[in-house]
């Protein structure tokens, strides 16, 4: 058997397995309760007029999502609005500082397909935190320990079981002190995230 024929057989096998799975009835209960999500990722400094230094952050984000405040049918699925509250634990593996520890609250809009298995989401919000600022020792570092943050996060979630979901997303985060200190270059960072969440 040549290799091209083997590839076609594998593709056909996967396709038929997918069809068989799609025909299985999905009976997930609606996700209308609390949800706890643990997310990990890597963020790299991007431009936008912020610090000229290179930064790499490895955020570990624990989020509590409250039950939806609104759910309405839309585009064959359900459009849901809810809030999430996050603990930001972010080692800085490249850059003059070493960590950022903070809290953030965000509003999240989700579109869930009819089966409840797939969710697309967009979240935006902000908060505050502390870091070991080095702006007076390293030009381009942050000017004070207490900083504000705002974030945007979009991506998709896939429900693997009745109570579990996995997610992949793209996360943008801005950190600065809003001029509370005269040294305030700010930090814009962007990167991918992976997460796992438990539904209650």
């Amino acid at each position: 058997m040549n290799s091209r024929r083997a590839i076609w057989l594998v593709v056909a096998g996967l396709w038929s397995a997918g069809c068989a799975r799609a025909e299985e009835p999905v009976t997930f209960r609606p996700n209308l309760g609390y949800e706890l999500e643990m997310m990990s990722g890597v963020l790299w400094k991007v431009g936008g007029g912020a610090t000229p230094l290179s930064y790499t952050l490895v955020p570990q984000i624990l989020s509590l999502k409250i039950p939806p405040i609104s759910a309405r049918p839309w585009a064959g699925g359900t459009l849901v609005m809810r809030s999430r509250f996050s603990l930001l634990m972010e080692p800085i593996v490249r850059g003059p500082e070493h960590y950022y520890l903070g809290l953030a609250a965000a509003g999240e809009i989700e579109w869930r397909d009819a089966s409840g298995r797939f969710t697309a989401f967009f979240a935006a919000g902000g908060g505050f935190g502390v870091m070991d600022s080095k702006g007076y020792e390293v030009v381009g570092g942050q000017g004070q320990d207490f900083n504000l943050n705002w974030l945007m996060h979009c991506g998709a979630r896939y429900r693997t079981g009745e109570n579990w979901q996995v997610s992949a997303g793209l996360y943008f985060q801005h950190i600065s002190n809003k001029g509370m200190n005269k040294v305030n270059p700010g930090l814009n960072a962007l990167g991918p995230t992976l997460g796992i969440s438990k539904l209650f």
Binding site: G49, P52, V139
Partner: protein, 55 residues
């Protein structure tokens, strides 16, 4: 506050390069290798950022 004279404006602002953000100003200083000799400051006249000697 006393209105700055034309010469004040020239000395403190118009003869200097303007940057939109503090980060942009610091980046310009770093590109020229003078980040240790310059500080970025917000100009009260034009509202943009300039670089000045650190000493």
């Amino acid at each position: 506050m006393k209105k700055p004279t034309r010469e004040d404006v020239r000395q403190r602002c118009s003869r200097k390069r303007r940057y939109l953000t503090q980060g942009d100003a610091l980046e310009a200083a770093m590109l020229r290798g003078v980040e240790r000799q310059r500080v970025a400051y917000l100009c009260p006249i034009c509202g943009r950022w300039h670089l000045a000697s650190a000493g």
